[in-house]
Subunit: 412 residues, 2 copies
C-alpha cells in the first residue's frame, strides 16, 4: 500500500479522492499497489464526508509522516504551494501538482530539487486538464525536435469566443453567460486577459525547448478587445478567432506569444469549441499531432493527477526524466521582434492615407459595414514598424479599433 497526502480539497482535490475510490481496482492494478489517501490538508471543515477523519490543517504533520510517499498539491497559487512542494521533495517525498501557476513560476527550481533529492515532480494536470499532453510531448514525441506548439488552452475564453462566433454575440454578453454558467469567475481577469493561457504555454515551451520561460517574458494579450465585427470579418476570409498560446522555434530563437488569432476554418484547432481545449504540436518527424479534450473540471483534472501518482509509484527510486534548464531570455525573440501578418480594422476618415502608409491593401467585407470602417490584412511587419505606422495613421485621423494576428498555413 502506498500512502499519499492531498493538499487542498477543492474541485480537483475532491475529484482525486473520489476517483481513487471509484476506480480503485484498476488503478491499483496499474500502480502495482493500493493507493491510500492518508491525509488531506484543508483549513475548511467537511464534517459530512465519509473520510472526514483524514483532514488536517497542519502541513507539518504530513511532512513528518514517513509513511506518506507522494504529496499531491492541488491548492493553486504559488504560496504556500511552493514551500510545501519544496519541503516535501526535501523530505524525500515525490510531488504531483495540477498547479500551472506554480509550475510556470517555479518549475525549473522544483525539477532541479527533485533531481537532487531523487524524487519525482510531475505536473501532467497543469496543462490541458484531462488531456494527456505533458507526458506525450516529453516522452512519446521524444524523438522529435519540436518546431511549434499552438494551443487553445483556456476553456472559459474559448466558450466566450464560440458564443461570439456561433451566435454573433458581443464580448460582454458572452462573458455574462459564461459567468452565469459558472465557466467564468466573478473576476475573470486571469482568463480573459490571457494570463492562464500564458502560464500553460510557458510550461509547454519550457518542456519542448529546454529552458524555463517565465510568463513575464511573454507578449500576452487577451480577448477583451475582440468585437462581433472582427468575428464577421474573420468569417469573410474563411477563418475563426481563437485565443492561442503559441511557441515556435525559429533558428536558435524561440518566439512565444499569447493572443487572439484568426485561424483557418480547416485547421484541426478551428473545430475546438465551447469549453474544450486543443493543442497542436508540430514535430520534425511526426508533422502535426493534435490533442483534444476537456481542459478543466474536477474529474478530468483528477484523472491527470492520478496518472502522475501511478507514475510516481511505479517509478519509485527512478526519476522520471522531465527536466529543463534555467531561464535564458537571450534565446527568446523579443515581443514584436519578428514580422507578423495582422488583420487591422480602422475607423475614421481619410482611408486614402492607409494605402499611403501601409501600401496596397484589399478591403474586407461584412454586411452593414459603415462607411467609416475599413478592415484589411496588413503586410507582415515587426511590432515596432507596426506601431510607427499606426501612429502615422492616427495623425491622419484613422484609429485602429481591431488588431488581430493571422495564424496558420495559408497566411494571407
Amino acid at each position: 500500500m502506498i500512502n499519499i497526502a492531498v493538499l487542498g480539497h477543492g474541485v480537483v482535490g475532491s475529484g482525486v479522492v473520489q476517483l481513487l475510490e471509484k476506480n480503485r481496482e484498476s488503478i491499483s492494478r496499474k500502480a502495482g499497489a493500493d493507493i491510500c489517501v492518508k491525509k488531506i490538508l484543508d483549513l475548511r471543515e467537511f464534517p459530512g464526508l465519509p473520510y472526514a477523519e483524514k483532514f488536517c490543517t497542519n502541513f507539518g504533520e504530513i511532512l513528518a509522516d514517513p509513511e506518506i510517499r507522494v504529496v499531491v498539491e492541488v491548492m493553486g497559487g504559488t504560496h504556500p504551494a511552493y514551500d510545501y512542494a519544496a519541503s516535501a521533495l526535501k523530505a524525500g517525498k515525490s510531488v504531483v501538482t495540477s498547479n500551472k501557476e506554480l509550475v510556470a513560476a517555479k518549475g525549473h527550481e522544483l525539477l532541479r530539487l527533485a533531481g537532487e533529492t531523487g524524487q519525482n515532480f510531475l505536473f501532467e494536470a497543469s496543462v490541458g486538464g484531462g488531456i494527456p499532453i505533458i507526458r506525450p510531448l516529453h516522452q512519446c514525441l521524444g524523438a522529435n525536435e519540436i518546431d511549434e506548439i499552438v494551443g487553445i488552452l483556456n476553456g472559459t475564453t474559448n466558450f466566450i469566443l464560440t458564443k461570439m462566433i456561433r451566435e454573433g454575440m458581443g464580448f460582454g454578453d458572452a462573458l455574462g453567460i459564461a459567468q452565469e454558467l459558472g465557466y467564468a469567475e466573478k473576476d475573470p481577469t486571469a482568463d480573459i486577459e490571457g494570463h492562464d493561457t500564458c502560464r500553460k504555454i510557458c510550461i509547454l515551451a519550457s518542456l519542448a525547448f529546454g529552458s524555463h520561460v517565465y510568463p513575464t517574458s511573454v507578449d500576452t494579450r487577451g480577448i477583451t478587445q475582440i468585437s462581433a465585427e472582427d468575428v464577421c470579418y474573420a468569417q469573410s476570409i474563411g477563418r475563426v478567432i481563437k485565443l492561442l498560446g503559441h511557441a515556435r522555434k525559429i533558428g536558435d530563437k524561440c518566439e512565444i506569444w499569447v493572443g487572439p488569432a484568426m485561424i483557418e476554418r480547416d485547421s484541426p484547432l478551428a473545430g475546438v469549441e465551447d469549453v474544450f481545449n486543443g493543442i497542436l504540436v508540430r514535430g520534425d518527424a511526426t508533422g502535426d499531432v493534435v490533442f483534444y479534450g476537456k481542459g478543466a473540471g474536477g474529474l478530468p483534472t483528477a484523472s491527470a493527477v492520478i496518472s502522475d501518482i501511478i507514475d510516481c509509484v511505479t517509478a519509485e527510486g527512478t526519476i522520471v526524466s522531465l527536466h529543463w534548464a534555467g531561464a535564458d531570455d537571450s534565446k527568446l525573440a523579443k515581443p514584436g521582434e519578428l514580422p507578423t501578418t495582422r488583420y487591422l480594422r480602422c475607423k475614421g476618415k481619410g482611408f486614402d492615407t492607409v494605402e499611403c502608409v501601409l501600401g496596397k491593401v484589399n478591403p474586407l467585407h461584412r454586411p452593414d459595414k459603415p462607411d467609416d470602417e475599413l478592415a484589411f490584412i496588413a503586410p507582415a511587419m515587426s511590432g515596432s514598424e507596426l506601431e510607427q505606422k499606426l501612429s502615422q495613421l492616427g495623425v491622419h485621423g484613422v484609429e485602429v479599433a481591431g488588431n488581430i494576428r493571422i495564424w496558420g498555413q495559408g497566411e494571407i
Copy 2:
C-alpha cells in the same frame, strides 16, 4: 552507449536509422545514453548507404550479440517476426515493434514472455503511426475506466472516403487515385476490407479492456460497398461516412466492430480527413479525449518506435507495465448481438412493404434520386432481426444496396 538492432530496412526501418542520426543529441539527452544502431537485418543489399557495413542477413548474429540490448522489429507480418521477437526476449533483450499484425496476433504471448524474462515489449508505433496513443491510453488515462474507443485508423481508406465526400467521386475512381499517389497498394485488400483497421482496434481494445481480442473475433466490414449515393444521403442528415474501428464496454461485455459508419459532422472525428488518423477515447473521468495526426509514413512511425526505444533504455531493469490477459470471447458481444441503428438504401419495387416490414420510416432525400430508390434510417435492431427483415424485403422485390451503421451522440 546502448546498442540496438533493427530488423528490416523498409520505410519504417530506414526512418528509424535516419531519425536516430538526425536528432541524435536530443534523443541521447532523453535516453541518458547514446543510442547506436549496431546491426540491421535485411536480405536485400544497400551498397550506397554510409552505414552499409551494419547490414547482416542472419538473425542469429544479432541474437548472439550480448551488446545488443534492444531489438527493433519493423519487418511486418507474423513470420518470422514472432520467432525473432520471442527469441530476443528470451535472450534478455527488450523488443520494440511497429508491427500491428504481430501485436494483434501474438500480443498477449509476447507480453507474458516479456514479463517472464524481465524485458520490455513495446509497440507504440503499431497503432496511429506517429500519434501517441498506446502510452497515453495505458498510462495518462490510467485512472479511467475506458467506456469507448472509436478510431479512424487507416489513412488509405480515409483518403478514399475524403475524395468521395469532397469531390463526389465513386469508390473505384478514388481508389485509383490513392494507388497513383502511392497511398494504396496494388493489392489494397487489407486496407479497403478493413483488416488493417481491425488489427489496430484489437490492440487498443486488448489494452483498454484487459484481455486479448483476436481479429477473427471481430465483425469486420470494409468500404468497397460505399457508393456516391450513400455519401449524398449522409450529407443530407448532417453526417459523413468514415471507416471506424470501434470498441465499447456495455455492462460486462465488450462490443467491437470495424466498418463504415455515418458520424455527425460536428464530431471531432468528422474533421479527420485525407490520410490522417484520429482516435477518440471516452474515459469515465476525462470524457472524450481525441488524438489526431499522421497515422503512417516512415518518419512519423519511426518517431513512435524511437520513443519506445528511449523508454526501454530509461526503464532498463524495470518492466514498463503494459499487459493484458489471454483472450476471453465470453466477454465479447457476438457480432450483431446488440441492437444497432442503421441507414439502409433500397432498390426495387414495392416500397409499401418496407414500412410493412420495418415500421414507419422517414425517406431521405438527395438530388436526382431515381424513383426506384428509397433510403432511410431503420429502427435499432439486432443483426439477426435485420437479416430476417432484409430477406422478407427481398421476397417482395426490394433489394438492399446500402447498409451503414449510424454512430454518434444524437443517434437518429
